[in-house]
């Protein structure tokens, strides 16, 4: 009896260290953050000295026009950059999925932007966008055009951060799509060629549908990441002009350090976390559905 019980408990015993690490490293900080979001807490106080104010931080957020604006900017930013990056990244992968000499060098070059520290990317772009000495405006004026107020005008500033993000993150989608493309079954593509499919038809009817599972995961990963982008925009515009580029993570950062409202910052982080959880959950469901479908297909094949 007791041996049987010990046997049953053994797996949990082995899991215990991992569980402990998870509890300390993951659940404790998250619980701390959730608790903090119910407090009126400024950084000069210890957490124990802060007043408990229930849901007031959250109600305040929803009535705060600046927060709503920054939520909107974040959503707009994520949708725009991820859409453009997907098109560019997948397009590039389709173009470069062939045997060119020096392909591996090219590939490494393409993913360089991803490897640069975000602060450096921000600084680099900020100087390139500089109104007078930046490369863009110098080139424009050399060619006889009017200079563009890259970071000085709300709409242009938004476009500028989108461009910088696309430059940095398209390679991520490119490299994942390329990997997907190269693992496609050659037989399917061969068969379509024999059936007389044109290049476009191959892409639309064979390659893209087969790549879809990888593309969906890539899309979600990028979407989650784009919701949390901070450093590049912080360095380039610090959220300005006005609130035109103040994405949520900048708002959280300012709320904690500039406004000294740790409780409110925690509440914002929780809302962001909820949004990201929904996205992650969507990804999980999709994976599950895919697995089920594959299982069903296998079952059908086996029966046949």
């Amino acid at each position: 009896m007791s041996i049987a019980r010990a046997n049953r408990l053994t797996p949990y015993l082995f899991l215990a260290p991992a569980g402990a690490v998870l509890a300390v490293a993951l659940f404790y900080p998250i619980c701390y953050m959730i608790y903090a979001s119910f407090l009126d807490w400024n950084p000069s106080q210890r957490i124990g000295e802060a007043d408990f104010i229930g849901l007031r931080n959250y109600t305040k957020l929803f009535s705060d026009a600046a927060f709503r604006e920054s939520m909107w900017v974040t959503i707009k930013f994520s949708i725009v950059v991820v859409t453009i990056e997907m098109f560019l990244g997948v397009g590039l992968a389709l173009l470069l999925d062939r045997n060119i000499r020096g392909m591996s060098v090219l590939r490494t070059l393409f993913i360089l932007p991803m490897m640069i520290a975000p602060i450096v990317v921000g600084l680099m772009w900020r100087y390139m966008y500089h109104p007078t000495v930046g490369i863009f405006n110098r080139t424009l004026t050399d060619w006889g055009f009017d200079p563009i107020p890259w970071l000085a005008d709300g709409d242009w500033a938004f476009a500028s951060i989108v461009i910088a993000d696309i430059w940095q993150w398209t390679p991520f989608i490119f490299i994942l799509s390329l990997a997907a493309l190269q693992s496609l079954p050659a037989s399917a593509i061969e068969a379509s060629r024999i059936d007389g499919a044109s290049g476009w038809q191959q892409i639309i009817y064979i390659k893209l549908p087969l790549m879809l599972p990888v593309l969906i995961v890539t899309l979600l990963l990028r979407l989650i990441d784009s919701f949390k982008v901070l450093e590049v925009i912080l360095v380039m515009t610090n959220g300005g002009p006005g609130l035109s580029t103040e994405i949520l993570s900048i708002r959280i950062n300012r709320t904690a350090s500039e406004f000294r409202e740790l409780g409110e910052a925690a509440a914002m982080s929780n809302l962001l976390l909820i949004v990201l959880l929904i996205l992650t959950f969507a990804m999980f469901i999709y994976n599950k559905a895919q697995e089920l479908r594959a299982q069903r297909m296998r079952a059908v094949e086996e029966e046949a």
Binding site: N42, P43, S44, Q45, R46, A66, H130, P131, T132, P147, P149, L151, A152, D153, G154, T237, N238, G239, G240, P241, G242, L243, E246, R254, S257, E258, F259, R260, E261
Partner: protein, 447 residues
């Protein structure tokens, strides 16, 4: 292990012996003797003034036998570090430099020592300190709390820090350009705005005045810089927001005029970019902190060396240059408070204020600005000393809710500058939101 310990002890004894002999000159020995061998840990910002301080600090150790260990951080990082450090039971810092807007937070949270008990202690207070010589605008702005409106001097106020590395605003202008076109140096705001827009006409490619204007703190700072001289305030005596008064609108319009007639891309400028634009000859005027003056005379960075003149911050309906920068204070959780006070008193004494100023720091005393040697080295010193007589300690409120309100003014002003938002409408919005913030913080409890 044992050997190391013995070594340390013998070294310590050797050091202390050296000190006793080093200041055989008399009274200083008695004052500092009890603290000999103490090591003070101080927290300073990375700032030109404090770089100058580092040059004179070894002299303190030599005179007193008190060691000083400096932890220097970028000023926003410094504030973050202090925020954590000051909530501990036993702090690591004995003396801290703080940004002026930290005064409200630290004093309110009871984290800074009231300096009265040190100045009352005959063993510590130097009778020749001459506190009356300290620049009163700075002392009121940075040092005192608890009086009028809570953050200013008054019958109920007391001293929590001493200005050290403080700044005011002056108007820097290009002497050569002004001479070339026969333009007089602006003395009033009307003149200033006229000249600001005249320059781009007579000197194509050059902006009138370079100003901070980037969204957030910078735009707010620039707006407030004009608000005080034009007769406005953010709050009235009862904490009602009056930022949307006609004076407020005038200040917003002044800022807009300056930025519109200023160098290209001005709406993204922080102080460093604005100073760089002036330094590179892209603007004929620059009105900001005195801390930038030394940079304009540095031939390795500046193309305008020798061509920069300085004038008082122009007068609107009144004179009112800004006050800001840093002060030094003793944390309530410091371990060596008395020795820290001695260091603080030493650093802000007449002799050391001058020594630091000569090394490139910002003086805290009127006498330093009048010093002939300093004026010979930095010819603009006399103008700065004059400007400080009009320094306005109340040009912006120093209250715990200021961070939120300041950011709101800054983003809204940025919208006025870049998106054409109407100044009156913009400031009405700021006033309304400021009222809600103040209401929540309890400023209307007694009304």
């Amino acid at each position: 292990m044992k050997v190391t310990k013995t070594n340390v002890w013998s070294a310590a004894i050797a050091v202390s012996l050296t000190y006793t002999t080093a200041y055989a000159d008399g009274h200083t020995a008695d004052v500092y003797a009890p603290y000999e061998g103490t090591t003070l840990v101080v927290n300073f910002p990375a700032h030109p003034h404090y770089n100058a301080v580092l040059e004179v600090l070894p002299e303190f150790t030599e005179q007193t036998g008190i060691e000083v260990e400096v932890d220097q951080l970028q000023y926003l990082r410094m504030r973050e570090r202090q925020t954590l450090e000051l909530t501990k039971d036993e702090g690591d810092y004995d003396l801290i430099s703080y940004v002026v807007f930290s005064k409200a937070d630290y004093v309110f949270a009871d984290q800074l020592e009231n300096l009265a008990k040190y100045f009352m202690n005959p063993r510590l207070a130097d009778p020749n300190y001459d506190a009356g010589d300290l620049i009163d605008g700075y002392v009121a702005n940075i040092g005192i709390a608890g009086g009028e409106k809570g953050y200013l001097p008054g019958p109920t106020g007391s001293l929590f820090g001493i200005p050290f590395g403080s700044e005011t605003s002056v108007l820097a202008y290009r002497k050569d350009i002004f001479e070339k076109h026969g333009i007089d140096v602006p003395e009033t705001y009307d003149d200033l705005l006229e000249v600001a827009c005249l320059i781009p006409e007579v000197e194509p490619g050059m902006g009138g005045m370079a100003s901070r204007a980037a969204s957030g703190h910078q735009a707010s700072h620039a707006f407030l810089l004009h608000l005080a001289p034009l007769g406005g305030r953010v709050f009235d005596a009862e904490w009602n927001p009056i930022i949307n008064s006609p004076e407020g609108v005038a200040a917003a319009n002044a800022l807009k005029t300056i930025v519109d007639c200023g160098p290209e891309g001005g709406t993204t400028f922080g102080p460093a970019e604005a100073a760089a634009a002036f330094q590179q000859g892209q603007a004929a005027m620059f009105m900001d902190s005195i801390a930038f003056a030394a940079g304009f005379e540095d031939p390795s960075r500046s193309t305008v060396v020798g061509n920069v003149g300085y004038a008082l911050h122009p007068e609107g309906v009144r004179r009112g240059s800004q006050t800001g920068g840093f002060g030094i204070g003793i944390p309530s959780n410091a371990q060596n408070k008395e020795a820290a006070f001695l260091l603080m008193q030493w650093l802000t004494s007449k002799e050391q204020d001058l020594a630091i100023a000569l090394a490139g720091g910002n003086p805290s005393r009127f006498s330093t600005y009048e010093n002939a040697e300093l004026n010979e080295k930095y010819p603009y010193s006399a103008t700065f000393g004059e400007a400080l007589k009009y320094a306005d300690p109340d040009w912006r409120p120093i209250i715990p809710t200021w961070g939120t309100i300041n950011a709101d003014i800054g983003t809204t002003m940025s919208q006025v500058l870049t998106e054409g938002l109407d100044p009156q409408e913009a400031l009405d919005g700021v006033a309304e939101r400021a009222r809600a913030t103040m209401e929540e913080a309890g400023y209307y409890t007694w009304q």
